[in-house]
Every structure is written in C-alpha cells, then in structure tokens.
C-alpha cells in the first residue's frame, strides 16, 4: 500500500534535523494559524497564491529564495563547524549525515536560492522595463513558480521523511546508482529537480517570448535596458540547457528504477557520459545565474553614477557572446577524465576566451562610473564588492583552466574557494543589489540604509575570511568534502573560515533586522514618487508599488534610458500635463491552476520516491484534470474600467506633483 514508506523512514536517532524541522514546521504552522485566525486567508489566496500577476509571482520567487537561503546557509554553518572540530576527531556529524549536508547545501543554494532569486527579479522587473502589463503567458508563469516551490518542498521533506542524497550536489554515478545509493536520498534529489526543472523551463520559455514578442511601442531591441538583454540571454540558455538536465536525470532515474545501464559499471554503461551530459547543462547553468546578475549591476551602476551605461552595444555583444561560449567549455569540469592533451587544450583555451567578454563588462562598468556623480547607496556597494571580488575569482578560474594546473587542484578546496568566489559575489551580491534596488518599487518603501550597509560589510569581510583560507588549504592538499582530517596545519585556516561564516551569519541577521526595521518604519522610508533613485528605465515611471496593470497608458519609447529622457524633456520643456486618453484595460484573471498543479506534483513526486504506484497514478490524473479544468474556462480576463484606471493614474500623478522629493518637484507639471 505505501511502497517503501514506513515509520522507520523518520530518522528518530538524529535529533538535529528533526529538531530543525520541528522548529520550521512550528513556525509555518504559526503563520498559517495567524493567517486563518486573522481572516487573511482570502487575501493571501486571491492576491498571492492564485495570482498570475508577474509582480506577485516575482515576489513569491524571492521569498522562496530568501527562506531557502536560510536553510542552505545553516548547512554551511554545520559544515564549517564540523571541519573546525574534526581534527583527528569524529566531530558532531557522522559521515553519512555530513555527506547529506554538503549535498543539500549545494542543491539548495543553486536550485532553490540562486535560481528563484534571479527568476524572481526577472519576473518582477522585465515587464515593467519593457513597458508592458504582464508576461506573455501569465498562468504558465504561476505554474512555473509553483513547480519550483514543489521541488524545494520535496528537498525539505527529505529532512524528516527518509534521507537526502549523499552524492554531492551533482549525483555522479556510479555512486548515485542503486548499487551504491540504495536509499531514497538520490530519488529525492532526482524528482525534486525534475519537477522544479519543468518549472524553470516554463519560466524560460515565458520570458524569452516576453522579451522577443511583448514590448512597448518603440521598445526596439537596442533600446531595451541591459537587464532585459541579460534576461533574454539567460532564458535562452535555460531553454537550451534545461532539457539536457531533464534528459540526464531521466537516464539516471531509468537506471535506478528500471535497471537500465546508462551509467552503470556493468553491461556497457558509461559513467563519463553522465559527467559530459550534466556539465553540458551545468556550465550554461552558471551563466544562467550570473547573466541576470550582470544585468542588475549594469542597472545599479548606471543609476547610481547618474550616467548612461558605458558601451551599451559592446555590453549587448558581450552578453550574447557569453551566451554562446558558455556551451563550449563544459569539459573543463573534468580535465582529469583523460580525454587527451588536444581536447583538454581546446577546452582550456575556450575557457580562457570566455573571460574576454566578461572583462569587457568589467571595464564597461568601470567606465560607467568614471566621471559620474556616484551615490554610494547599498546597491552600488554590492556592485563594487562584486567587481573587486569577482576579478579575483575570475583569475583563479583562468588558473584552473590550465589543464596541468587543474590536475593538481582538481577536487581540492582551491576549487571550492574558486566557485564560491564566483557565485557569491557574482550571483548572490547581484541578487542582494537587485533586492535593495527594486524593493521600494515592489513595496512602496525603501530598505533601511544603515542596517543594509552593516549587513554588506559583514557579508564582504565574512566572505573573504571564509573563502580565502580555502584557496590556501587547497594548495596545501586538502580535498573537498572531508568529514574529518588528520593534518594539524590545516586547523588554523579552517578556524578562520569558520569565523568568516560566523561573520556572514551576523550579516544575515542584520538583513533580517533590516527587513523588520524597514517594515516598522515604512512611513519614514515611504517612496512617494515611485522613483526613489532617480532611475533611468521605465519601471521607475510607475507608482510604487505599481498598479495591477503597471501602466495606465503604454509608454512610447524613443530611445535608450526611456524614463530618463521622459524626465529630461519634462524638465526642459516644462510642458503642461497632457490630457491622457484612458481606456479599459483587460488583465488576465487569477487562476488556481499553478497551486493545484503543484499540489499534485508534490504528491506525485513523493509517491514516486517511495514507490507508491497507485498514488502516482492518482496524482497524475489530478494534475491532468487540473489542466483540463483550466482549458475549459470561458472567461480569461477581467476588465478594469477606464474611469478606474484614470483615478489610479491621476492619484499617482498628483502624488508625484506634490511629493517632497526635490527631483520630482522639477518634474511638476504646471497644469
């Protein structure tokens, strides 16, 4: 009846995960009770869970990412603490648990922190920057988000029911094959990623179509803000790379569930094919994550330097070059496979070539700042820390791209230091910059600057303390993923690294405090005009938060930095407010499809993991029925009457006109 599931699946003998999950479950339960008791359930359901508004979905993606960041970071704390004490000692994490912790850490951080954070930012910002009212496929967008959430949920369920993979964040065979990983850990990993991977693919298709086909009048390709370009590149990579992940994981599932021999030791299986396939997805994946962050930095640096982005066209070219080159370097993840000197040399050179467009970008950002009136707000601090730190990581990357050096450094902590040195400043700092930058747009008030800066310094110094020692440890010969070790010379450096993680923990605590304090002082931090930073792109022309329909009248774009020019012209001409011709607006109706579909996907994933076949069939029928019900509905859109649109828009214009912001006063229409 229940497949492999029994009461033994709950790890009673491991108090740590159980206690942690109990706390999380209590917190979630408390929130749920509060929502229901206070009568917020209809609001939460109609405005968030069933919303197909790209802004709401974007915010939900980022909330998911922030929550999972806490989970992934607690795994990091466990690892650093374990290695700080495990000199000639077992430490406090038994090996099989330690292995789950590092596997979960990587899986969480890449798939359920970095991905949703970036997709959330793209979802929120891109339609606003393009000057349109929604993405191309709003309901599909909601389905994509909820499937991502399903994946995150399944990984977290593995804490309490069963176990997680012990194979690392990429389940290399033959370790991940049934022979060596007979438990459900790898199955949790595989089904969680298959389901969330479908969600990511849907989101990629949606955003590609949006950028290419749904833009405001006059928004030509070379007038799009840089963030839209990097979104396009990143989502093209999603469309091209995620099917490879799906196929690869499907092959591993066939091996595990039906006794196929894709990657097994016996019967002609080829485990190196797994490395090739997974990195044919995996290397584009790092650019999927970092390209949107490059877009954020471009927006932030240009806005806070009060200058147009230097070398806009070369930036576009560099972005698209990275988009293509990212598919040509996958083999550098396993030079030690032994493909031979020629193959390794080609991939080593390709890897170094990809540093060229990245260098172009760095110089463009530097020249954007050069001669600008720079305001050192939190978002640009993140950008500056990114540039300096990322260059260090880039150079160690070029070092690793030299195959003979890679043979020495492969799988050492040098590698761990390198990729954290790319992903933390590149992706996470970009995410934080975007979070601080667009927060007032999303919620109508700014984040507290002082706490933001304090968190920033803790993060940056903590990062250097935590990861620079790992470069040294790698050169000293320490390999990654060690549960214990016997070399006393490593100990001091591991203690420094643990200190760095502690400082990062302070930074995270300060970020939580920043959010709480900002919410409490939201009146003082209120953004009256919708343009708190004197921005350049169209999202800043809307009120904060923007109305459901984003733009009362679609903007007419006449050049790059569309909103900047609108403001300039208004200032120069001081023209009276034009009477606007408001029309009825049709917006897509809410749909529970995404939420219900994700419910069935969760049940189906869980049932597949535990081999409960009748439940798999039932959940599949449920999911299919959900889509049929959606397909059967007659009314897709609801109407916002012109009078209502006019009221909202005039209210905003009046607020801008009377706002205390001196910049806005200059824009005050004389009418």
């Amino acid at each position: 009846m229940w497949g492999r599931l029994s009461w033994q699946a709950i790890p009673w003998e491991q108090p740590l995960p159980l206690a942690a999950s109990a706390v999380v479950a209590l917190a979630l339960g408390a929130v749920l009770v509060w929502v229901v008791v206070k009568g917020h359930l209809p609001y939460v359901w109609h405005e968030w869970l069933s919303s197909v508004d790209h802004k709401r979905i974007g915010v939900m993606y980022i909330v998911l990412a922030l929550l999972m960041l806490l989970r992934g970071f607690s795994d990091a704390v466990l690892m650093r603490a374990q290695q700080a004490v495990a000199l000639n000692a077992p430490g406090f994490l038994p090996p099989e648990h330690f292995n789950q912790v590092f596997s979960a850490h990587g899986t969480m951080m890449i798939f359920f922190v970095a991905m949703p954070f970036m997709i959330g930012l793209m979802n929120y910002v891109v339609p606003l920057q393009l000057g349109v009212r929604d993405v191309a496929f709003p309901t599909l967008n909601s389905v994509g988000f909820w499937l991502t959430a399903t994946g995150a949920l399944l990984v977290n369920i593995s804490l309490v029911v069963g176990e997680f993979a012990r194979t690392g964040w990429l389940p290399y065979p033959p370790l991940s094959e049934l022979t060596y990983s007979p438990g459900v850990g790898v199955d949790y990993y595989l089904w969680a990623l298959q389901i969330s991977g479908v969600g990511t693919l849907l989101s990629g298709i949606n955003l590609v179509t949006t950028v290419l086909k749904v833009r405001a009048p006059g928004m030509q390709y070379l007038r799009m803000p840089m963030f839209c370009w990097t979104t396009l590149a990143s989502n093209l990579l999603i469309v091209a790379a995620f099917p490879i992940l799906t196929a690869t994981l499907a092959m591993l599932l066939l091996d595990r569930y039906l006794g196929f021999h894709f990657f097994t030791n016996e019967a002609g299986g080829n485990m190196m094919m797994f490395m090739n396939l997974i990195w044919a997805w995996g290397h584009p994946e790092v650019y999927i994550l970092i390209l949107p962050a490059f877009g954020v930095f471009s927006e932030v640096i240009s806005t806070f330097s009060h200058k147009p982005l230097f070398g806009y066209r070369s930036m576009v070219l560099a972005t698209m070059a990275i988009c293509i080159l990212s598919f040509m370097v996958w083999l550098h993840h396993f030079f030690t496979m032994g493909a031979g000197a020629d193959v390794n040399a080609i991939f080593g050179i390709a890897t170094m070539v990809i540093a060229v467009p990245t260098g172009v970008k760095i110089f463009n950002w530097l020249f954007t700042m050069y001669g600008g009136r720079i305001v050192f707000a939190t978002p640009i601090l993140w950008s500056l820390a990114f540039m300096t730190t990322f260059v260090v990581g880039g150079m160690t990357g070029v070092l690793l791209a030299v195959p003979p050096a890679d043979f020495v450094l492969h799988n050492s902590l040098f590698l761990v230091a390198h990729f954290h040195n790319m992903v933390i400043p590149g992706v996470l700092f970009g995410a934080f910059a975007g979070y601080t930058y667009w927060f007032p747009k999303a919620f109508g008030f700014r984040l507290h600057e002082g706490l933001g800066k304090a968190a920033f310094w803790c993060w940056v110094i903590g990062f250097y303390l935590a990861f620079m020692p790992l470069y040294g440890l790698g050169l000293m010969g320490m390999t990654r993923r060690m549960q214990h070790y016997d070399d006393p010379t490593w100990r001091p450096w591991l203690l420094v690294a643990a200190g760095g993680v502690a400082l990062i923990a302070v930074g995270i605590a300060l970020q939580v405090a920043q959010l709480v304090v900002s919410i409490r002082h939201r009146q003082a931090l209120h953004d009256e005009t919708g343009d708190p930073w004197n921005g350049r792109s169209l999202e800043w022309s809307t009120p904060s938060p923007p109305p459901l329909f984003n733009f009362a009248v679609l903007p007419d774009v006449e050049g790059e930095d569309a909103y900047w020019h609108i403001k300039q012209r208004a200032r120069e001409q001081n023209q009276p407010r034009k009477e606007v011709d408001y029309r009825d607006i049709h917006m897509p109706r809410n749909s529970a499809t995404g939420f219900i579909c994700a419910f069935f996907a969760t049940v189906m994933g869980f049932a597949l993991i535990w081999h409960i076949w009748w439940l798999v069939a039932a959940a599949f029928v449920g999911a299919f029925a959900t889509f049929v019900v959606f397909a059967w509905r007659d009314v897709h859109e609801h109407l916002i009457p012109a009078a209502r649109v006019a009221d909202i828009d005039r209210e905003h214009r009046d607020r801008v006109a009377s706002g205390g912001n001196p910049r806005s006063v200059a824009l005050r229409p004389s009418a």
């Binding site: 749904v214 099917p243 894709f262 044919a280 397909a631």
Partner: protein
Amino acid sequence: MTTTDATLAHPAGRPHEGTATRTHAHATERSSGVPHGASTRIVVAYGFWIFLISDIILFAAFFASYAVLSDNTAGGPAGRDLFEVNTVALETACLLTSTLFCGLAGIGANARHGRLFYGAMAVTFVLGAAFVGIELHEFATLIERGAGPQRSAFLSAFFALIGCHGLHVTAGLLWLLTMMAQIYAKGYRDDILRRMLCFSLFWHTLDIVWVALFSLVYLVGVAK
C-alpha cells in the same frame, strides 16, 4: 500589500456575462502592449515554437547517449540482430499519414467544418494509436527475446530514445482527444483554435523527430 491592488483583483463587475466571442475579441486585441501588432496567436505560437526547440534538445540528449552507447552491446544482440525494418516502415507510414490528417484537421478547424475536423482528428488518432501499438508490440517482442533494456547499455539507450518518442506520441493522443472534446463542448473559439495550432505543431515535430529516429537508429542499425 496595497489596497488598490486588492480591489483591482476583484472588480465589482466581472464580465461573467462575457460570451466566448466577446472575451476572445478582447483576447486578440490584448492590451499587454504587444509591439508592432503581434497578435495573441503569434505570441502563443512563438512561445510554443520555443518549447518545441527545447523538446528537440531533449531528444538530442537522448540521441547523443544512443550514439555513445550504440556499440556497447555487452555481448548481447546488436541492432542488425533485432530490428525488423518492415514493421518499422509500417510504423513510419502510420505516423507520417497521421500527420497528413492532422493537417487536414487543422484546415477543418479553421474552416469550422465539423465533419472534416472530427473525421480527420479521428483518423489521426487511429493512426497514432496504431503507431504506439506497433511500438509496444516491438518492445514486448524484444523483451521476450531477452533483449530488454536491462540487457546492455545499447538496449538501454535504444529503449529510452524510442520510448521517449513513444511517450510524446501517447501524450499527443491524450491531447488530441482533449482537443476534440473541447471543440465539441466549446466550439471554434479563438483560444481553442490557437491550441489546435499548437497541437498541430507538436504532432509535426514528432514526425520530424521520428524521421531522424528511423534513419539514424533503424536504418543505420541494420546496415552496421
């Protein structure tokens, strides 16, 4: 978050009275600011093309694994010992003919010609189901002869590649029935015709993939 948004999501007068035609007149002139007059039909078809590209990449990964593993027979049978080209040719004929009828169904739907639409869809279904039936029979025969996917990496890759296509066709059959039911229940609405267009694109893509499968797996396999 904002009271304005909260009220907007629930306007007092939802257009419940909106009949199919009315809603879709709105849908086609969607106010989402589509540039250069790109209609919903174009946006939907474009998005579906992007999906099809991703699907073709999925097949490419299975093709690549088949190319890598096709000689790893582990002492078991190879393609030339197993493939019966005549049966597969019949299978191919079924699928290609079904696509012809799928195209006719699309014409029928656009012309709102009920008999042509339902008739052509029914033939498409029968031919597609015959294709899946022959494939399942082939799989059953192979497994019976001890040449199942567990036998060797070559057979694993073979079953996965062909099976992946077969699953797509099966999903397409389910979609086909849903489309017929939708047109029956709702009529030739714009949004349903757009779905019909997507279905047609999907079915044609499966054809293209099958042509590659037939040539690269079966014909090359027999010749080797």
